[in-house]
Symmetry: C2
Subunit: 211 residues, 2 copies
């Protein structure tokens, strides 16, 4: 009868739920790969994951949410890097370092694939917008934690939003230039874009916007 909060040692039930959630998300990705965006149904995902259609909806509100969870899984790497930075470092410098994680092959590959697969259908997929938004909120939370309760909410939000905007911009430009090319040279370009974008942000976009 634990009146205290559930222990951080995950119970078997917790583990199973996480595993099921992952299985569903992975099934969605598999179908995205094999059939292309919009060419499979929730029922297909459920079958692929070995659960019932109803169970799918117990875990996700829809296909988009399932795919967004995949993006979240990797964008969370960025957040983790941010948290690992020394607390007395300027936030923008931490952000720059954390965004480098985007250009890590292990992170970039799934994100790039996911975005290229979902972008094929429309301008910018809903699931991406939500994934970036989710990441923004987490950066705000992490920055607030670092700066203490006295942190100015407006400052936090504007800064976090701008940082993510730089990440989005760098990824978007890289994407248009190189497709989903994940070669070391291509990733170096991506990394350079991230550095440039954050550098522009840190300088207040003072330089003229012409090459």
């Amino acid at each position: 009868m634990p009146v205290t909060a559930p222990a951080n040692t995950a119970s078997r039930r917790e583990l199973n739920k996480v595993a099921t959630r992952r299985a569903i998300a992975d099934a969605a990705l598999a179908l995205l790969r094999s059939k292309g965006a919009g060419n499979f149904t929730v029922e297909d995902i459920a079958a692929e994951a070995g659960v019932s259609r109803r169970t799918f909806f117990n875990y996700f509100t829809g296909v988009d949410a399932a795919l967004a969870s995949l993006a979240d899984r990797f964008l969370d790497n960025v957040l983790e890097q941010f948290r690992l930075r020394p607390a007395d470092e300027p936030v923008l410098e931490s952000a720059r370092a954390a965004l480098m994680e985007l250009a890590d092959p292990m992170t970039a590959a799934p994100i790039a694939e996911l975005f290229s697969l979902t972008n094929s259908s429309q301008g910018l997929g809903r699931c991406e917008l939500e994934a970036w938004e989710h990441c923004t909120e987490q950066i705000i939370a992490a920055a607030r934690e670092r700066l203490g309760e006295a942190a100015d909410e407006l400052h936090l939000r504007a800064m976090a939003g701008s940082i993510i905007a730089c990440g989005k911009a760098a990824m978007g430009v890289w994407f248009e230039e190189r497709g989903a090319d994940l070669s070391p040279e291509s990733l170096a370009v991506f990394r350079q874009h991230l550095v440039t974008a954050v550098g522009l942000l840190a300088s207040g976009f003072n330089a003229p916007a012409t090459a």
Copy 2:
């Protein structure tokens, strides 16, 4: 037989389509007000607008898109202000001036109402995310137009995204502080937040984020 592009003098057909589109969007807003988010169907909107359900889908992909078009209608005011700024002005200064339009009662009232109505259900409504995204794309286009083809795409995107992030942040903070209070004092606060946020952006977020 006009092989040339359709004349800018709108034909009757064009006008009717615009009117129908508006009627549908307005009907959606009316239902959002009277029944609350999520408590009405596409069929309800179509009936309210006096068209068939199928016609609704000829104009919008869903309820979200219809509501987003309302947001777009007012966010376009921001873009218009941006375009009216002198071409030799620094882009950030133009952006600051344009964002002031958000705090104009005629613009703020519908936006604030729309966001408060849609926010009631979830963190940040899909339609809002899409509306901001749409606005960002337009700012990019306007800035590119101003700066010429030599404009650096990364610079443009990162800057436009950051500007919009500041607008989002100012509106979000104002919202949490004042609800949908549209009194002159409240709007003055909102305006101040916009100025502050863009000021932070222009300074590269150098000041510490504590009050």
